[in-house]
Symmetry: C2
Subunit: 124 residues, 2 copies
DNA sequence: TAGCTGGTTCGACATGTGTCAACATAGACG
DNA sequence: CGTCTATGTTGACACATGTCGAACCAGCTA
């Protein structure tokens, strides 16, 4: 799966990192479509193992980490791979193979978009 | 169920609304316990119906809303009640009966704690 | 070519989750 | 008291999800 196929949570101007998918939760009731889109992000982080994996990547130096650096979360290696794939499908991570190892990297604009959903004062 | 039974996502100083359950996701890898706690929040918002209900309450004037005001989300009434209970168990909402109607209210400090998880720059 | 290591995919299973119809409960109002 | 309306609870069901072992693929090294 290429990384370009999955980036569901940003608006058309996602490249500039300024257009969240939806207004803050407290601004107005979300539409069904907005909720569908945003729920996919929250769902991706709604598992303890995925949250640890994501945090491990996000806090790693350079914002990227090899699978081998973060796979010590108490589940089998196929399960780690499964969860990383889920995070990738949610648009939260991208992956790249460099030689023997595969590196995962956070998608900063998506993270910021999620933050804006929750913290109205952080909006422009 | 009383409201006091469920407030899983804030630290000991939750009353002051200043102690999130966990550091920002990008600061350091989360521990298993932190991830367990935080994942419960994200999971609660990881369903489109719950997200719409939560957004409806959060955006309602006064930060609270009667069930009758927000139950138009395309699912049956028992399902609405079920989802509101989930949001309550996650500590995101509290409820109070006033006469005939039941009012739900957002827990602002929990919302802010979630925001801090995602937006490191918003931390103190 | 063969073998080794890191990572993903497959197949199967148990558990969790969203949903509804039916029933139960809490107040209001007569 | 009885009845009506507004919510919550129960039970059942279909479906999604987390997990693992086994098999598979990609690149390195000999």
């Amino acid at each position: 799966m290429s990384n370009a196929e999955v980036l569901p949570l940003l608006g058309p101007a996602a490249d500039q990192g300024v257009t969240p998918c939806c207004p803050p939760l407290t601004e107005r009731p979300m539409t069904a479509e907005e909720a569908e889109t945003a729920a996919r992000m929250f769902k991706a982080l709604g598992d303890p193992v995925r949250l640890r994996l994501f945090s491990a990547v996000a806090s790693h130096e350079g914002g990227e980490a090899c699978v081998c650096d973060i796979s010590d979360v108490g589940v089998s290696q196929p399960t780690v791979s499964h969860h990383l794939k889920k995070l990738k499908e949610a648009g939260l991570l991208t992956s790249e193979r460099r030689g023997t190892w595969v590196y995962y990297r956070v998608e900063p604009s998506v993270l910021a978009a999620m933050g804006r959903l929750l913290v109205p004062s952080a909006a422009a």
